[in-house]
Amino acid sequence: MVQDLRTDVLVIGAGPAGSMTAKWAAKEGAKVVMIEKRQEVGSPVRCGEGMSKEWLTDVGIKPGKWINVEVEGARIFSPSEKIFEINEKHAGNEVGYVVERDGFDKALAIDAANAGVDVMLKTAATSVLKEKGRIVGVTAKAFGEPFEIRASVTIGADGFESQVGRWAGLPTNIQMRDMDTCLQYRMTGVDCDTRYCDFYLGKVAPGGYVWIFPKDEGLANVGIGVQVSQIKTMAEARKYLDAWIDKHPAYAKGKKIDMVGGGVSISPPLKQTVTDGFMIVGDAARMIDPLTGGGIANGCIAGKICGTVAAKAVHAGDPSKEFLQQYEKGWRARLEEKLYRNWLAKEKLTTLSDETFDKIVDALQGVHLEKLNVHNILKAVRDKYPEVTKEFEAFL
């Protein structure tokens, strides 16, 4: 028989956003329980495993054994495979590591546990407990046995397929045009370049891209994201990825040793991420960058803010929606503008023809950009193909 529990802060989900939230709440003096429905933190991996690195120090993550490769830059391939190289000098935080994602998640969970968080495995939330309109915890099952966890502050960090946010009444639903469906193979015996993360744009992956993230010499994650609204028949993500691999001998000769899939939101930020006694963070809160599909950095950055505010609410004895606005305001100040700008850019990019993609990448050949942003890219494109930038007046 599992005993009912009472805690200050309850975090649902032990991914990066959950562990980061739990750790910071504990560091700020709260009693924290983090529950994870699986038997193993970080597994199975559902991730391309590429991430930026500049933000790590800010949130207190030290580089560890989970790093496979530190890349020098990224290469964007247009449909005719002209290359635009983004290097560390002008991209700053946009380049970084290819990681062993399960190791990364475990390292963060270890940090959380060492900060005092109680981690419960094989424990899934089954509904939220509400009293007088306030979320006061969850009903859960641990090893199949039902019990209750009561908390002053409950936090949903349950990832892309979040249930907890919807139970709490937050509108986390996404539109078909705001989701990419993804599939990836780990391939060995391929000719990848461990200096770069590669991205292939255009009709090879409608509304998304094909990625090559090198794990080691001859070993890479080869994946695809396709916008759901652009899919016509079943299993198209797999068909597009297989077709791309077939056309690229450097990868077609490789062997698949692993396959992962999943959904990625490419939506504008949620309008509301707190309610009485409750906050939502990470992929569950649709914090994924709509342009890159990256969610780890934003989830960790917001997680630190979320955990800190949760502890403050506990100390103040006030888990009201009004008090938790500190989190809402904090993460928005840090992330919202870029999320919204990148969502607009994504909306535009998904309408471009292969010809236009080629022109954009062609115009950037040999051009020196001081700082990499949409504005500077468009200025460079305007110099060579003024007709292309007409559609982008709003960004200039």
Partner: protein, 63 residues
């Protein structure tokens, strides 16, 4: 609801990779993923077919 169509999720592992893409996109929140088991609530499901498109491997059929 006029309902001749049936949603079928192949979740025995022949096709399904338990990635959760269908769970996240379902506008009615009626698909559930439990480790290696996917279920859906037939009473809530409206056969909107969004999950069919969201499935990267084609494990969901309506017919």
């Amino acid at each position: 609801m006029p309902d001749k169509k049936r949603l079928h999720i192949e979740s025995s592992g022949q096709l399904c990779i338990y990635c959760g893409a269908c769970v996240g996109i379902c506008p009615l929140n009626c698909i559930y993923l439990d480790e290696t088991r996917i279920t859906f609530d037939e009473k809530i499901c409206t056969r909107c077919e969004i999950c069919v498109k969201a499935c990267p491997v084609g494990a969901i059929e309506i017919g």
